[in-house]
Amino acid sequence: MPEQQTTVQNEAIDLDAELRESNVQEVLDQLDRELVGLAPVKTRIREIAALLLVDRLRRRLELTSETPTLHMCFTGNPGTGKTTVAMRMADILHRLGYVRQGHLVAVTRDDLVGQYIGHTAPKTKEVLKKAMGGVLFIDEAYYLYRPENERDYGQEAIEILLQVMENQRDDLVVILAGYKSKMERFFQSNPGMRSRIAHHIDFPDYTEDELLAIAKLMLAQMNYRFSPEAEEVFREYIRRRMRMPHFANARSVRNALDRARLRQANRLFAARGRKLTREDLITIEPEDILASRVFTEGAPDEGSEPEAAPAAS
């Protein structure tokens, strides 16, 4: 045995080969390409990926045997890409072999907490079983704990969650998500939860330029584009919309684009009798955006939009 040990130790360790073999770079590149901005998040994810890659090598040389704690907490305002990043994270963990299947199960309080005594435990376990071998994403996680109601069943769900997070670290990774301030309060009242989460990642709000870039990316995916004037108008739209209530970053942009498409379709329909070109069909003109209530009344069209639609990206 001793000879074998030395050969293993002296063998050159090829980090590049390991990286290539795991195909993680591909996901990281995709993350860079498809997600605008979010520089601190990308840096943290690259750090985590590097840590896991090195850890995998160390494990091969029998320097570590413990599974690292991988549970994470994503904090940030609505529409900053938490779910999207969680999905990529599941992919990265799968490629590195830390989860077996790499699927993402997104849940909220309703999926975990029951309505009467004895309902919570089976419900939570059901969800946990479904997420095993993958990533459990709990959106708006702070709702699990309701300090104002001491008989709230959320506490029970948290306890089961903690138990599984500790004992079955090989089987699933839990990612909690929510507003920063509310998550802080949640962790204060559940210190056990905080100590079991290794990575806290904060998602910053997007800047005006980033939101415009996101808008263009979204339009390109749907085979639309702004006319040069429309781009300027949309920049103004974003600037105004950002100051209004219920602003949900990328989600508000997507909703605005959806409405712009609707108005574009209406405009084309109204101008019947004229021959349409391909150009007409793919171009969003300034008037499609200017008709928004953001410009006419100074109020968002999406006034009734909930603060954050759960589990939507």
Binding site: R100, Q101, K125, L128, K129, K130, M132, G133, Q168, D171
Partner: protein
């Protein structure tokens, strides 16, 4: 019996082999999940071969992607019924099959007394044979220790 050392109940797959380890069970379940079959855990204390319908331990697990969740249920069932037979079945809902494609025992009682053969003489010295498990002489839930 020479062919069945230790009176082990031989029903379903792998029953002539030594009991499967958890690792082997996981591998089998993984195969079933890959085929898209619904895996189910069942238990009974009546080992008669014609006892087809065993008690179900919860609902069939249609939407699981990973064997860990099913192994968890198996262990829960073992905790609740350490001295019962527990089996795992995998149901294939594909049209034309619509039947369990896999079935194997994952837990058995410590002592398996086996089966007795009852010969009943009827008319014309005809003999009717009946197989009866010794265990079922006792009422349900008291059969194995």
């Amino acid at each position: 019996m020479m062919t069945n050392y230790g009176n082990k109940l031989t029903q379903g797959q792998f029953s002539f082999l030594p009991d499967l380890t958890d690792e082997q069970i996981t591998a089998q379940i993984k195969y079933a999940l890959q085929q898209g079959w619904a895996v189910n855990v069942e238990f009974t204390d009546d080992p008669h071969p014609r006892n087809t319908y065993w008690e179900m331990w919860g609902l069939p697990m249609f939407d699981l992607k990973d064997p860990a969740g099913i192994l968890y249920e198996i262990n829960e069932c073992r905790k609740a019924y350490p001295n019962h037979y527990i089996r795992v079945t995998a149901y294939d809902s594909t049209r034309g099959w619509e039947t369990p494609r896999m079935s194997f025992i994952v837990n058995r009682p410590k002592e398996e007394p086996g089966f007795g053969l009852v010969r009943t003489e009827t008319n014309d010295r005809h003999i009717v044979y009946t197989v009866r498990p010794y265990a079922t002489e006792k009422p349900e839930n008291e059969r194995y220790g």
